[in-house]
Amino acid sequence: MSGARKAGLLELVRKTGVTGLFFLRLLRACIPALARPRLIVAQIYNAGARSLIIIMLSGLFTGMVLGLQGYDLLRRFGATEALGTAAAFSLLKELGPVLTALLFAGRAGTALTSEIGLMRATDQLTAMEVMAVDPMRYVAAPRFLGGLIAVPLLTAVFNVIGLYGAQLIGVQLMGVDHGIFWAQTQSALALKDVTEGIVKSVVFGAVVSLIAVNEGYHAEPTAAGVGMATTRTVVASSVMTLLLDYVLTAAFL
């Protein structure tokens, strides 16, 4: 193995270790952080409620595309009445959790990273430490928990709006029967399918929030350092979301 490759591998192992240890510290800090729900609610608002518009718009357009593509495909087999089922399966099990996580990483994850990184750069985290306040408990844990709670809720909103978008195209535009659309969807979906989506959204919420908080907390305290950390948040969150999506899908089959 060449020297550069060896150094790269060592750096990867080191970063994984640092993130793992940070995760353990974060989990430990979450317990006392739960005693201050006000901070967590504020973060659910910041990361979750403020992402609603982008999630709803994306959900609507995703659902509309599903309606168009699904109708075109199913028409070839004469099975357009299955459009609702196809859209619901796609949204609940895959597109809802994955796209929400990717959008959350881009909208809220980057904001989390840059906010914490700037707090580090402007000595706010150091000031807390000197004031005998643990920034892990006051800054990192509420933001992690806020993301963890917000992502599944946003996923639910994405799914509902997405289904409405598919119905809008399939039923209102393409003429699929309204009753059949919903009845097929209702009868074909099992609790297991919904559970799969919920589990995925919780895991993605945890991973994306962990990456965002970790990158911000360990960002180099300079303008360039915070910028780099923000980029790493988007890249790492996206790759981990798609990787874990495969792993979880395989686990649920």
Binding site: L118, M119, T122, D123, Q124, T126, A127, E129, V130, M131, A132, V133, D134, Y138
Partner: protein, 286 residues
């Protein structure tokens, strides 16, 4: 630099180097290096109870690093940093946090929390460490803001404050828990003359009125000399001179004179080590 003589105080008085029983902050033979580059090599500094101790020195001499050592953010490679008689390096997390609650620190840039207003910034340590009822917290915060002349700015956000105001708010926050030691990191940097005068008076008042032990790190010689009881001059990772401001002003040490007069010529080099100037210019011209 390294060979600069150490001034010795020959007339022990009230402001002489403190007896260890009086020492609130006691830095003994501290060595500290970053990536193999020595920052301190045998540093000795003592801050005595109730006095203003100034730590001066050129930029890059590790003055801020010293404050990080005192507050337990980093640990010395060798030597002992004691605060309230306890070795900071041996304290567990709980004890360290308990020690920090007895200290206040004013950061160079204020380090105010940017997402809450001035009132909440000052109230922050109180809310975190006590269960005082809201009316009492309000009175406490307004009292401290009044002391720094910013009671009327309680509703402003940190982004709406000038540099001097931000530092005064940070000072109010630093004293809100009535600390025994106040640590100032370059409190006079970048201030207009009025703000500088106000901060200077506040530092002195805090010390006199509340009998707080103050450690002020600064390279503003004239300002800090006007209020300090005892001064240390750092260079090359160690103390090269110490004494009362008057003693330092009278010193005939080349290092002290260079620093006190702000001269580019002297034992402390102004230029970063480089190749011969003429040679380098001629090389570039070719």
């Amino acid at each position: 630099m390294g060979g600069a003589e150490r001034i010795r105080v020959t007339d022990p008085g009230p402001a002489s180097p403190p007896a260890s029983s009086d020492a609130v902050v006691d830095v003994r033979d501290v060595h500290y290096a970053v990536d193999g580059r020595p920052i301190f090599s045998g540093l000795d500094i003592v801050a005595r109870r109730g006095l203003i101790t100034a730590v001066m020195g050129p930029s890059g001499t590790g003055k801020t690093t010293l404050l990080r050592l005192i507050t337990g953010q980093i640990y010395a490679d060798r030597g002992v940093v004691s605060v309230f008689g306890r070795d900071v390096g041996t304290l567990g997390a709980t004890e360290l946090y308990a020690t920090r609650q007895r200290m206040g620190m004013l950061f160079q840039n204020g380090a105010l929390l940017t997402d809450v207003d001035v009132f909440e910034n000052v109230a922050f340590p109180v809310r975190e460490h006590t269960d005082l009822p809201e009316p009492l917290i309000r009175k406490l915060v307004l009292t401290k803001l009044e002391a720094v002349g910013l009671r009327g700015a309680a509703h402003l956000m940190p982004a709406e404050l000038s540099g001097g105001m931000a530092r005064r708010v940070a000072l109010a926050r630093a004293i809100v828990m009535d600390p025994e030691v106040l640590i100032y990191d370059e409190p006079f940097v970048g201030l207009d003359p009025i703000s500088l005068g106000v901060i200077l008076r506040l530092v002195k008042q805090m010390n006199d009125a509340l009998n707080i032990t103050s450690v002020v790190v600064s390279h503003d010689v004239q300002e800090i000399s006007s209020i300090a009881d005892y001064s240390y001059l750092l260079s090359g990772g160690r103390v090269v001179a110490s004494g009362t401001p008057a003693e330092l002003a009278r010193s005939d040490s080349a290092t002290v004179r260079q620093f006190m007069t702000g001269s580019a010529e002297g034992p402390v080099p102004f230029h970063y080590p480089a190749a011969d100037y003429a040679t380098e210019l001629l090389e570039n011209a070719r």
